[in-house]
Amino acid sequence: MTIKRVLLVEDEPLLIDLYQERFGEEAFELEIAQDGNEALKKANQDTDLILLDILLPGINGFEVLRRLKRNLDTRDIPVIVLTNLGSEQSDSDKQLAFSLGAVDYLVKSYHTPDEMVEIINKRLR
């Protein structure tokens, strides 16, 4: 079985450390991109899932998502928007994310790392 690759697009060192700490225990491989450009560079055919923040330095998450979906190599990678913007119930940011092709919209502060792992593994299966 090949190792699954998850790309975490996150600029906040506090949260990068947190997620690395917990996700490190899991079977998937975690890659980090700290801004939009890096995310676009690192996402490729081998990427199985992208966790995408919205407020990023440089190009924002919505734009990254738009470009990922335009690129033939990356358009089929499921993208979970993982942000602290807006709310998980109906909200304009959530609606925009879905209209751009995100598969889920999660507010970081709502979910413990354990819950995140569960959500990621469900997606990778």
Binding site: L15, D91, V107, T112, P113
Partner: protein, 545 residues
């Protein structure tokens, strides 16, 4: 500056002709009665004659139709008297002679005037036996009189003639002061409306502009001559619902509705956007039809900008709060996973820290929700649902918390109709919030929840009413209306250990009202609170076959 006319009707002018026909008995038959009458009519009724100009001419004219030689018109003030006009003497002697007469007259008790008794006046050595005084009316807040002096006794006919003339002049004076006061009122009102800092307009029942003040010209960019006669919607273009007043006029509601106000954005002539706070007062006539509408508008763009900035700030602040919170809660959860390695003291610290971070997270979420409500950014997705299962779920979630305090939490199932069209998530939040409050503020007793169906009360559609009654600390009556306001805390810290930002009930009320519901509360301090929420009932759905 355009002069706006006010709907003031002047009293009808008295018919001079009619009055003066009573002058039929003129003395000294040598003269042509008719021409004299006409001359008198034109003298009194000619508006071009100012009152000041009228009196000297009258003094000259009266001796021609009466038997008296001298006519003095004078006014009595509180402290002094003044001659207004006279034919008695040349300028030199006048000052002496006439003033003496008037001084004497002033001393005479007013009650003796207007009696048909001749007066006897002595001025120096001269004795005037045939004098008659008749009240004329008010000039510049002073009572004016006409004094007639004759060589021979003044006959009753002459007195009658003089009285009629004086009546006519008295009426003319009254009319004059009335129209002067109307004009000055008009002027004051005009100045007031024009110089008012607030925009002001008057509309007729077809919503056409009849008054448009300077502040409105400044606000909208439309000049008075551009606005007058136009439909308000053409000069006052709302960016959201263009027919805002039309529907108001079409449905003026009950007789009691006199004022209505709202905040909205308009487009000025130059295309700029402007937020206005607008108060509209409706004036109705006796048959309850709309007569006219008065509109007062104030520029609240600055306030709106500040509000927007505040909301943006809270949005950003919430976002910034959430990030460290995510880290705190995340690491705490990692610690919890390895709790077998922790001492009991460390475990208790962990539990306290987790509680504190959860409270902080709730506060951040409430703040965010309030800004979303204020910015109208929370969409509602109404669905046809049954309400009872939602209530059941919320009650189940809160039962352990209530039980821990020894409070019973019960939901009565009386199998009533509960079909409603609501957003299930928001509705669950409404009841979670209310039941959470009830649990927080009740230390003993019970929290009871039950439904009611109310059919066709006051011609309304059937309602589903949800009652939530607790036996908690209640709310002092002084606070009862304010509890639904933003940042309102119903209880002082010494009354309750519960903490919060005072946003819960504001959110509840917004969620209820956004879904066409109403929420009311009755409460007595120390006795408990009773919240009543009503939503329109939907027709029952056919069960699946």
């Amino acid at each position: 500056m355009g002069t706006e006319r006010l709907p003031v009707r002047l009293p009808a002018l008295p018919s001079w002709e009619k009055l003066l026909t009573r002058l039929s008995v003129l003395p000294e038959t040598k003269v042509d009665h008719r021409s004299l009458s006409l001359e008198l009519i034109s003298l009194i009724s000619n508006d071009a004659n100012s009152v000041a100009g009228l009196f000297p001419r009258l003094c000259v004219f009266l001796p021609r139709i009466t038997g008296c030689q001298g006519v003095v018109i004078w006014a009595k003030g509180l402290t002094d008297s003044e001659i207004i006009a006279s034919n008695l003497s040349s300028n030199k002697t006048r000052t002496y002679m006439e003033l003496k007469i008037v001084q004497k007259m002033s001393r005479i008790n007013h009650r003796s005037f207007n009696r048909r008794l001749p007066l006897r006046l002595s001025v120096g050595k001269t004795v005037l036996t045939n004098c008659q005084s008749i009240h004329l009316g008010e000039i510049n807040n002073r009572q004016a009189y006409l004094l007639a002096v004759g060589e021979r006794a003044i006959t009753g006919e002459t007195i009658h003639t003089l009285e009629v003339i004086c009546q006519a002049i008295g009426l003319r004076l009254k009319n004059l002061s009335l129209s002067q006061s109307v004009r000055s009122q008009n002027h004051k009102l005009n100045n007031l409306t024009q110089q008012l800092g607030e925009g002001m307009a008057l509309l007729d029942r077809d919503l056409k502009v009849t008054l448009w003040n300077r502040a409105l010209q400044r606000l909208t960019g439309y000049k008075t001559n551009e606005a007058l006669g136009q439909n308000i919607n053409q000069v006052f273009r709302r960016t959201d619902t263009p027919d805002w007043l039309t529907s108001l006029v079409a449905n003026p509601g009950t007789k009691e509705l006199r004022h209505t106000h709202s905040d909205f954005e308009i487009m000025t002539k130059s295309g700029d956007r402007l937020w206005l706070n607008c108060l509209v007062s409706i004036y109705k006539n006796d048959s309850n039809e709309i007569d006219q509408l008065a509109l007062v508008a104030r520029d609240i763009s600055h306030k709106k900008t500040l509000e927007q900035k505040k909301n943006e700030f809270i949005s950003i602040a919430t976002h910034e709060l959430r990030t460290p919170l995510t880290a705190i809660k995340g690491y705490l959860s990692l610690l919890e996973r390895s709790q077998e390695n922790l001492t009991s003291k460390q475990l208790s610290y962990l539990s306290q820290t987790t509680k504190a971070s959860n409270r902080l997270a709730c506060l951040a979420e409430d703040l965010l929700r309030v800004t979303q409500i204020d910015q109208d950014r929370l969409p509602f997705k109404p669905q046809n649902i049954h309400l009872f299962p939602i209530l059941k779920r919320v009650v189940r979630d809160f039962k352990p918390k209530a039980a821990a305090k020894g409070v019973t939490l019960s939901l009565t199932n009386n199998h009533l109709r509960d079909n409603v069209r609501l957003d299930p998530e928001r509705t669950e939040q409404i009841f979670a919030n209310l039941i959470d409050n009830a649990t927080k503020y009740t230390e003993q007793g019970a929290i009871k929840i039950w439904l009611e169906n109310i059919e066709n009360r006051h011609g309304q559609c059937p309602q589903l009413v949800i009652n939530i009654r607790d036996t908690g600390i209640g709310i002092g009556t002084k606070n009862i209306e304010e509890i639904f306001e933003k940042f309102h805390r119903a209880h002082r810290p010494e009354q309750s250990r519960e903490r919060g930002a005072g946003l819960g009930l504001y959110i509840v009320k917004s969620f209820v009202e956004k879904q066409n519901g109403t929420i009311t509360v009755k409460s007595r301090a120390g006795k408990g609170s009773h919240f009543t929420i009503a939503f329109p009932l939907e027709p029952p759905r056919k069960s699946k076959e």
